[in-house]
Symmetry: D2
Subunit: 339 residues, 4 copies
């Protein structure tokens, strides 16, 4: 038997889709006790079968966090709420994994440009670590505040960064990311755009180069704003993101060579799965898992590569990656509760 001591963690925003997925994953974690932190007044009645076990629920206050001796708090809340909650929670002694965009963009100016509001806790940018373990594992281990990546950028960065850093991308030709997401990415708050009758049997493009997730890709892949073109589309399904990424390589002799660039980067990564050249993942391969699957189609003559990357937006794109970060921050095995 392993002998990890049990930690207590809290979840704010546990009714949202990411928050509920967090609670579900944490319920399988052998070294963690979960507490639900109630942030808003409008509590919903609990439903479901008689006699089922549900986590303890307390208010999301510094006092409660100290009383419960929480080691870490997940914020599955909108950015403006996370900005309000993170400082007192950190001050109360708990680490924070924030699933919003509040602390992802490096500084308050960039945040203001893309989120169109002033950032009221800019000092925290100094210590916030971008929570993409495949690239920032060591910094995450020692972080107090981790900014869990957005769902689209997680896939895009995992697909692009190895190629960019190996300098096999002809950046003068531009990189296109045609991204498609299931509806849970839009959150649980009812809206006409996510109503069943508007979405079923429909498909639409809803965000272009001005999408808030674009700067996360630029900052972490090293690409410039004019080099990266992005479109977000809404799929008539619950969960999953698939991105088809188009780029021209330079100096790549064969599909096997291109595959080896990925293999070099991801040899020991537990959550990255690669496909044989010409094979690509579909959403079914990753739904309900913390895997990010990468495949591609490559033509060495024209140096055209089409990379297809898939993940579950609620798992590797949100709650699963958050638990992966928590495992690193609290010293647990990185894959605990995630395989």
């Amino acid at each position: 038997m392993n002998n990890y001591s049990t930690c207590s963690v809290g979840v704010v925003g546990f009714r949202g889709y990411s928050g509920a997925e967090l609670v579900r994953i944490l319920s399988r974690h052998p070294y963690v006790e979960t507490v639900l932190l109630e942030h808003r007044a409008d509590s919903e009645p609990r439903t479901g079968p008689l006699g089922r076990k549900i986590p303890k629920e307390v208010p999301a206050t510094a006092e409660a966090i100290q009383a419960e001796k929480l080691d870490l708090v997940f914020l599955a809340t909108p950015a403006e709420v996370s900005i309000d909650l993170a400082p007192p929670i950190l001050a109360a002694g708990a680490k924070v994994v924030d699933l919003s965009g509040a602390f992802r963009l490096g500084d308050a100016e960039t945040y203001s440009r893309w989120y169109r509001e002033r950032h009221t806790a800019p000092a925290l940018f100094d210590e916030a670590v971008y929570g993409l373990p495949e690239f920032y594992r060591d910094r995450i281990r020692s972080a107090r505040l981790v900014a869990n990546p957005g769902c689209y950028p997680t896939a895009a960065n995992l697909a692009l960064r190895p190629l960019v850093s190996a300098q096999v991308v002809d950046r003068t030709r531009g990189i296109i990311c045609d991204a498609k997401s299931g509806v849970s990415g839009a959150g649980r708050k009812p809206s006409l755009k996510t109503s069943f009758c508007e979405v079923t049997e429909n498909f639409s493009a809803y965000g272009f180069n001005d999408h808030r997730h674009v700067p996360e890709v630029l900052q972490n892949s090293g690409l410039g704003e004019r080099e990266f073109t992005f479109t977000a589309h809404l799929l008539p399904l619950h969960r999953g993101i698939l991105e088809s990424i188009y780029l021209r390589t330079q100096g790549v002799k064969s599909a096997v060579d291109l595959l080896s660039v990925y293999e070099d980067h991801y040899a020991d990564e537990p959550f990255i799965r690669l496909y044989a050249p010409g094979k690509v993942p579909d959403l079914r391969a990753v739904q309900g898992t913390n895997f990010c699957d990468i495949g591609f189609q490559f033509d060495s003559e024209s140096q055209r590569a089409t990379v297809v990357v898939a993940e579950d937006n609620l798992v590797k794109g949100a709650a699963g990656q958050a638990v992966q970060n928590m495992n690193l921050m609290l010293g647990f095995p990185e894959t605990e509760a995630l395989l």
Copy 2:
């Protein structure tokens, strides 16, 4: 060529699913000009391709109705709004087809019991006609105010009434109506219950014998409250209602005899389609049409009959039947714009 003179009709609630379907059907009607009547302040911006033709839009006031010389107004509004709007519209000289439950239940007491609020225009019950043309065609022709039937009762009454009135139902054994509806039946207003992620890949029972549509079945089929058991279920699809109705017959010698009861009633009905014994409709057969399809499975030994009835809840269950009623009220061919 026919020589009907053109009429002007208005639609209040044209943004809702029933209202939009009304506008769509009316746009194909050769003898009708449609005017959109704006009831609420919160007008949505129009979207769509450049240069498309859209109906004229005016406020839903008595003045505007007179200025536009409207012959008839459709109310695709909640019951409480219909109760407010119907009196001034009638006073302004227009006929009314109301798609809500405001005037369906015969008197204010019954309304109050099932809708749980007081009825503020009880005098109108005297002249309101229940708009099921297959049974009340003549009264509809001369009505000023027609209460367009609910979606579930339309199907249930069309399936049950011929059998009950032919006295082939053993009412002591009870009649069960297991009803399933697509999501558009819940209207366009966003809610968690009709959010895509809550509905897709899900199925649920949401209403029992206390459903507001139950008294419409009782009043028009002649069944007593304890004789009729009802459950409403939510299907993960856009449009369509299918009801499986279970009953015991009495004195029916064969499936052909049971079919002949329906054939006797519906011989000349343009919108009722019958199936050979043992064959039943599915939703695909009726979606986008004003048809109500009826089939059944029958075992003469046990006298058990399972009747399956299907309709499009937005057409025969709402907007299509409303236009069918309008055609009768304004003297047009009953099937105009509906076949």
Copy 3:
């Protein structure tokens, strides 16, 4: 730590939906090694990410079963294949859990009537045990051959049998079971009826009192053929069964009394969940789980009860229950790999 010795089990039909679900569940089972048993020649190419672990694959022969020292074999095969395979596998010393209808109906005559073909291994009926652990747990523990119940009967029997055996059902009034299933219940073999374009946005009734699952309900609930009326419907979704069951009770004073009948039967059952009176489960509550959830609506005046029962047809309705049976047959904790 527990000290169960590891067993080897085989799966025939591992490409079908039930078989694949079996392999998935068994992959989480700590005391079981799974071997895939290839029955047909037409093997499909394996796809998926590079380097993933997949179970060993051997031919489904008596020799291979002995060579692999299999303790138990799951047959996720059509009834006629199971009838062929069960005798040699039992002779080779392995226990059998058969997921088909081959051995569920007690004798060869009943099988022939409902499956319309002769049974070529009738001797096995003597030892076959119907694998519904909530009712036959002890017999399953010592069985060599378990007939895993059908998906519809599992739900129907779990909902009905407590009420019938407590004699609170007025059987003279008849019991109606209006059943709805997701498409995976029809298996993985391509057919027009289960093609996407035929199913999406559609809903249909496809089986009546002559459905093969009906005799399973009769035999295990104690109801007579004329007392039980059944209709099967196809839902446009992947997995899940929900049945609305209509019956009249006798001598039940209140909803709480009706609930207590269920509580008495299911007090210690790990996979049965009950709901407060008036609350009922939806499919979401049970998808991906081995739970069978039961709720009801009850009116004591009329003694009308509408019982709503839900399960995942691939788990409690097939593979999950098969593993539950295996756990009993091999002496493992009954809930292993299932919670």
Copy 4:
């Protein structure tokens, strides 16, 4: 009243999705009598309500075509069947609109390369006209044999050709077409890939630059093979194609200027609808219609344009366009039965 004389037309392949849509559209056409031409032996039993009107059915032979005095025959058949049937039908005196790829690619060599089989009626390429009315209207009017365009190329050519021919595309940067289609595009023949359980809640890329539709885009847009990159994806919905097309313009000063390029080409086109800059169509806008909707997002600084084009694959992408071609070939108003 108009005074067109009625024509008789036949449909081979009327059971497929495109063929059934043809029959549906033709049933609304005032100047056309439709005959179903039975090609295969395996006729399916007709189902549906009693007494419905269905078109006459005769064998798909030259004799029958002459006996029925058919003016035009639609071939909604696989390419190899169309190659067999077109010569005798033309010899029998009927015009042909072929919905397959048999006669789209200009010559037998190109056909053989992309369809991987020899073309056995190469002489017909001389007279076959590519049936995209917006570009070849006059030639279609006088054609005996029209090759109805593929679903993907219809949208891609309508979106691209105006820009390419106005020389506002920087072809050295490459054009990317990320295309998504509903499942009906794959036809009605059952297959695992189009089974409900494989498609629902899933999304996948299934064709790249080697897709058979690519040469249709190259030949009609004027782009070279290395200039055009294509990926086909499968959407979990019944009908509709949406393509996001990425390109760099040259010399375009503003979004309004880019829009004017489209307006110049499509000013009088009844089935092309344009959107204001920054607005794009979704599938709902075009489902069930013969419209092709085009919108775009444009950044004049970087000259990046993202064009979003949508159509119903069974209407403008197949049966609707086929009727549009028929209207031209038989001298009817081009929009008859299509608005």
